[in-house]
């Protein structure tokens, strides 16, 4: 579970996130959508501890990320919006490094990596240097590394970008399974059809403020419109 309480972040004069309140419950996939520069990535970075909020707090499974970052991070898996990884490591070296940080034992690790690498069809390439990977392969490597310790909370920033259709399908199925097991998935996307089909609840952020949040039915409020038309109506000035 993720609780974002009155979080604010400014860069100079620009307020990126303005008093955001949000809750990602156990057992749900929460889609975070908004136009470019709305504050999605800033919110996600504050959630995983890459940025410190100027005000407010983020709690992951009841643990304050700012006050006890190590415990909070232990139960989170994060995939950034761009897969910037160490190009001079092999895929497996990078995954091993991440797994060591999460203290994943060898036996569990081997099985888990095999399972994830097979699912994403990356097994044969794990011994190669990351510099030889395509964008999609790097994204898959980051996904495996983020999920290898079986975190309860997944925080994924645009995770489908660069993935081939099969890998995207696999990831979506994994997200669904993970949520159905009582865990939380918090992810941002620009693909509204994906959000519509996959998410239990959706939050729409515009200019750093949460302007709408709820299930798709709640957002539509009885009207027979798609998430896309609802979103476009909402962000139109």
């Amino acid at each position: 579970m993720i609780e974002i309480r009155g979080v604010r972040k400014t860069y100079g004069d620009h307020t990126a996130v303005d008093g955001l309140n949000l809750e990602v419950r156990d057992g749900e996939i929460f889609g975070f959508i908004g136009p470019n520069g709305a504050g999605k990535t800033t919110t996600i970075k504050m959630t995983v501890g890459l940025l410190r909020p100027d005000a407010g707090a983020v709690l992951v499974n009841g643990i304050d990320v700012a006050a006890d970052p190590l415990r909070a991070k232990m139960d989170m898996g994060y995939v950034p919006d761009t897969p910037d990884v160490y190009e001079k490591l092999t895929g497996m070296q990078f995954i091993n490094f991440m797994s060591d940080a999460y203290q994943v034992p060898t036996g569990v690790r081997g099985e888990r990596v095999r399972e994830l690498a097979d699912a994403f069809e990356l097994t044969d390439a794990l011994g190669d240097l990351i510099e030889s990977y395509s964008h999609g392969m790097r994204q898959k490597t980051v996904l495996i590394a983020a999920l290898v310790h079986q975190p309860r909370v997944w925080v994924l920033d645009e995770p489908l970008v660069g993935l081939d259709p099969k890998a995207a399908f696999t990831l979506k199925a994994m997200m669904r399974r993970h949520a159905d097991c009582g865990n939380s998935v918090f992810f941002s996307t620009h693909i509204l059809e994906v959000a519509e089909k996959l998410c239990d609840r959706v939050g729409i952020i515009v200019k750093g403020k949460l302007v709408a949040c709820g299930t798709l039915d709640e957002l539509r409020d009885g009207a027979n419109e798609t998430l896309e038309s609802f979103f476009l109506d909402l962000i139109e000035p």
């Binding site: 501890g49 940025l51 410190r52 794990l126």
Partner: protein, 551 residues
């Protein structure tokens, strides 16, 4: 085709930098600095040519053709040796093939456009080298105005042969399966080429003394001309510039034909070995061949951090060269001093002078002070680099991994510290062993040397890490920018001088009080241990800056 050639020249020679407002001022400044830096040696070269021709004319020595041909041959050798790094950069390091290959150009056109950049760079160097000699050749009446067009055209054709050979050889090496594209191999090749180039140029340096002139003109220039003739067909070029009338034009035509053959072979090899594998799609397969099987094994987080750091340093030659450059400079210095000794026939013997000083009675008399100075010098090999002071910066935007992992920032700093020591210590041990072997040390003096230099390396490393953690340079496109153009490296070196100044202070204090050697040794060790403890405490606090870092 013209637009392709223009584009490659624009990119290869960075011509836009000369046109754009702010960048232009910087580039003009840099250009002037480079001119200033090379002007003494270039001035020396011109003066040597002036004296050589005066010697030839005054003594009526009929070797003016050898002088000119030797200079042309030397320019060809220079273009060949300097061509290897230029070819590596323009062909093997270029990243624009994904843009060029889909365009409606034939492969040979792309290769020729890239080779043109190499030719243009080499031409500038050849013209700079040959023009003074040719001008003097004309001025002293060995060639008339009618011969000038042939001289100019021969000079334009001159770099074609060495550039073609450099590119053909480079591409043949790059095509060797498994090792051909290894960056370390190329660094070794480029360094060897640069060293050979420096030796070639130094072969023809001199003060201009009369006795030396005989040696330069009669022996060394003749040798150089013979070396130049190793390029089949180069003799046509030499004869073109030293002949007159229709004979000169005939020789020039033969030289042009030879150059066309060389260019044809280079284009054919380039098309086959450079673009061929890419067009066939074999590049990726070749890169992935022979990798170790991937195994998922748990290790402690500190070890994992150290392994990651070591791999990231050693597998990136630009980072590795900058990190361990101090130690690489040692054999280069020794080689340079040895060459200087041989060239000066023993008159300039830096190593010999140092050895004599080390075996003098003064060395024994001031042993504690000299030894501390040597320890500082040995430590400088390990600390005068970006290994520690750009350790966070070189991670760049990838620092998100460490930041979002459940690892305390202090552990991350310890990981970087230990990784640095893992890389530096074997080389440091080697330099200490070398110093112990050549210096007349008694008793436990070697231990003092090792201990003090290691302590200095340790706290200098922590200073570098602390500074880089507090203000890392994370926005870069290439790791070279992170490690070379990083103010933290300079700041760390500057701040690292403070503890060294304190060491000097202790030595001066002890010397003034006339303290015995044991007290000096104990004082220096106590100071450095205390400094390590204090700096470690400060670095631990500085490590927390990673938490506050916005990514």
């Amino acid at each position: 085709m013209i637009s392709l050639l223009r584009l490659q020249l624009m990119v290869g020679l960075n011509i836009n930098a000369w046109r754009m407002g702010k960048k232009r001022a910087r580039h003009v400044g840099m250009f002037l600095l480079v001119l200033l830096a090379i002007s003494p040696s270039y001035g020396g070269w011109v003066m040597l040519q002036v004296k050589a021709f005066e010697f030839l004319v005054a003594g009526k020595v009929p070797l003016q053709d050898v002088q000119l041909a030797g200079t042309y041959a030397m320019a060809m050798m220079m273009a060949l040796l300097a061509g290897v790094p230029v070819v590596y950069s323009t062909l093997l390091q270029s990243r624009d093939l994904s843009i060029l290959l889909p365009l409606p150009y034939r492969p040979w056109q792309i290769v020729s456009a890239k080779l043109l950049v190499t030719y243009a760079i080499e031409l500038i160097a050849c013209v700079a080298l040959c023009t003074p000699t040719y001008a003097l050749y004309v001025r002293h009446g060995f060639a008339g105005p009618a011969d000038l067009p042939v001289g100019v055209l021969a000079m334009l054709l001159l770099p074609v042969l060495p550039v073609a050979v450099a590119s053909t050889v480079s591409l043949l090496i790059a095509a060797i399966p498994g090792v051909g594209r290894n960056r370390w191999l190329w660094i070794a090749l480029v360094l060897s080429a640069m060293l050979s180039l420096s030796l070639t140029l130094s072969m023809l340096s001199g003060t201009g003394a009369a006795g030396e002139m005989t040696d330069i003109v009669r022996v060394r220039m003749a040798q150089m001309e013979r070396v130049g003739r190793l390029f089949p067909g180069a003799a046509f070029g030499f004869r073109a510039v030293t002949s007159h009338g229709w004979q000169a034009w005939m020789q020039l035509a033969a030289f042009a034909g030879t150059a066309a053959c060389y260019a044809g072979v280079a284009l054919l090899v380039g098309q086959t070995l450079y673009l061929g594998p890419i067009l066939r799609g074999g590049e990726g397969k070749r890169r992935r061949k022979g990798r170790k099987a991937a195994v998922a094994v748990q290790t402690g987080i500190l070890r994992s951090l150290v392994n990651k750091e070591v791999a990231c340093v050693l597998r990136d030659p630009s980072v590795a060269m900058n990190s361990l450059g101090g130690y690489i400079s040692l054999p280069i210095l020794v080689a340079t001093y040895t060459v200087m000794k041989v060239q000066s026939q023993g008159k300039v013997d830096v190593i010999g002078q140092l050895m004599a000083a080390a075996h003098s009675p003064a060395f024994q008399e001031h042993m504690p002070y000299v030894l501390t100075g040597i320890a500082m010098g040995l430590a400088a090999f390990g600390t005068g680099s970006s290994l520690f002071s750009a350790s966070y910066s070189k991670d760049g935007k990838r620092l998100w991994t460490e930041k979002c992992l459940p690892i305390p920032p202090q552990t991350i700093m310890v990981g970087k510290f230990v990784a640095g020591l893992v890389l530096v210590m074997p080389l440091h041990a080697l330099t200490v062993a070398l110093a112990v072997a050549v210096l007349p040390l008694h008793g436990l003096a070697w231990l003092y040397l090792a201990a003090v230099s290691t302590l200095i390396i340790a706290y200098s490393a922590l200073i570098g890490l602390a500074i880089d953690c507090m203000r890392p340079k994370l926005d870069w496109k290439d790791t070279v920018q992170a490690v070379k153009q990083n103010l933290n490296v300079v700041l760390s070196m500057g701040l690292g001088l403070v503890p060294l100044a304190l060491n000097v202070g202790v030595l001066v204090f002890c010397a003034k009080l006339g303290q015995p050697a044991a007290v000096v040794y104990a004082g220096v060790i106590a100071l450095n241990v205390g400094m390590l403890a204090g700096i470690a405490w400060l670095a631990r606090r500085a490590a927390g800056a990673l938490d506050r870092l916005a990514l």
